[in-house]
Amino acid sequence: MIGYIVQRLLYAVVTFWFLSIVVFVIIQLPPGDFLTSYVARLEQEGDIIDEAEIEALKREYGLDATPVEKYLRWFGRFLRGEMGRSFEWNQPVGKLLRERLPYTVLLSLITLFFTYIVAVPIGIYVATRQYGFSDYLFSVLGFAGLATPNFMLALILMFLFFKYLGISVGGLFSSEYALAPWSLGKIWDLFSHLWVPIIVIGTAGTAGIIRVMRGTLLDELGKQYVITARAKGVAEGKLLFRYPVRLAINPIVSTVGWQLPGIVSGETIVAIVLSLPTTGPLLFMALINQDMFLAGSIVMFLGILTLIGTFLSDILLIVVDPRIRFEGKT
């Protein structure tokens, strides 16, 4: 078991290292470097910069180094928490991330819980009524949920709310709370705004889990031990939850971590449409303005977020799957 955890931890470190390389490539991708655009911007504003100053800046930022040196320098700084400066916002990247990242984490985690809380009971219900009306209803809804781009779902919901209820959904706070300090009212306001993005982001994942839950539970229900138990007169409710549900829920719980990349991914684009104060719009603006340190750091942190999620779900496997727990003891 310890061996398994150590192995997973090592894998996570390797993945983190891959991630850092990819992010570094992303930062380096746009033609020209940030200094050129920085100088161009200063010149646009009327400042005159002499060659010596540019050279000094170049040395300071290490722009004359080889890619490997650049990477090592950047990665070293990143590990120490120095993520560079956002030219667009004229603020340290770390500060911007501290403002936005918590909302991304909050929204992603709540959406994750929401998908499971909604999907598992529906999956069980639907599996016990195979080919019934509710089965077809949720199949159709599920297929539609998987097929609709979530930004379009956000647009449609916004449109419906605007047209029929006259309210504009968007953002995470009402205007009176946006800049106010934290209070009970603000928290309540946050939660009253959260549910639209949660539904929009969670739909695809929910549809997917319902399908898996239905499939695995149907497989279990067709097995002989269920028939035997029923023949012996075990009550239907007990019969269902005692073993089949427990077995069918296993693969779903153990793949909790796999849901997270999808959710974070959906969150990014939905946040742009609904203008939520999360990392999505920040990333979008950073990419449009080629503010690459900011953009790279956001991709990095979103990657780290899903990496941690996957690692935790691997650990969770130990809890739900005794085969891994007892490995090595036999």
Binding site: F18, F143, L146, M152, M158, F159, G257, T268, L287
Partner: protein
Amino acid sequence: MTTDVTTTGVSSGVEMRGAGITAEERYFLASQWQLMWRKFKRHRLAVVSVTLLGILYVFAITYQFWVPYGRLTKHEDYLSASPSRIHLFDTEGRFRGPFVYKLDGEIDFNTFTRVYTEDTSQIHRIRFFQKGESYRFWGLFPMDIHFFLPEEGGVVFLFGTDSLGRDLFSRTLAGAQVSLSVGLVGVMLSFVLGCLLGGISGYFGGATDMLIQRIIEFVIIVPTIPLWMALSAAVPAGWSPVKIYFSITIILSIIGWAGLARVVRGKLLEMRESDFVIAAKVAGSTDMQIIVEHLLPGFMSYLIVHLTLAIPNMILGETALSFLGLGIRAPAVSWGTLLKDAQNVRSVAVQPWMLIPGLLVIVTVLLFNFIGDGLRDAADPYK
């Protein structure tokens, strides 16, 4: 039951040359692919989906003929016009064939929006196979025949127009070409990458396997949309539409191959120790021969299922990127770039028809999913 099957199997072999092969015997004589086709045909929804999707692709490939106007043609007198109403009977109830009334546009000075009313005194009949705007079919043959066009002076916008007065129906069909092909081209790239890396990983094992496994894990863990966004934002703005198209496709398949590689690897691990592989080895086949000739055909059907289900993801990815303005860029059109015009509530409220390309995205993705479902059932015909 078992003995029954064996005897029929044997006797069918004997009677093969004779006339009168029964249905049951045909079942045993059929190849794996024939069996799969038979099983697929039983999945009604999938068969209907294949037909519809085929029609959609034919329309997309030959779109220039079906659309009344060019994708960039602006009708300055008809900005943000709602979808045209096609009538069959005039105000006196006489049958006049499909026709549209003349549209009168006025600016409503209370709301500052354009309001269009039908002038029922003027009728423009819709004619088929008419000469209209000239175009180059597939960029090669100069042509000017359009499937349908209203009579001189009339206009027909099946899906309405955008705020620049461009016909949305024409633009949607033009966009179909990009949106529908991105998935196919992207999946082909993923297929090559996935088979290659998954194949190497599963067949050789050891350190190579370890490395490739970690890369696959990484690709699966990283959230796709942010990564796609970051990569496509780096595509230089000055590139030609064709270059941008291929860069976007490559970016989409950078993620897509990983799932496939996993399937390939798993299946290879399963089959690598089987007798026929050892036999091939003893007979002196090279590693490449064994992978390509003996192992890949063994799970080709699973790969096709996986690929069919991967196409929708690519289509959705392209739509999302283009919607944000990071994917396909004007003047090229795709369903995503068309949806870009419907980016805020106000424009959706004023011109709800701008969401029609989105409906087509949903329909296409649904069709692919249904086909994938049917293929999955058919993939293992011996079950």
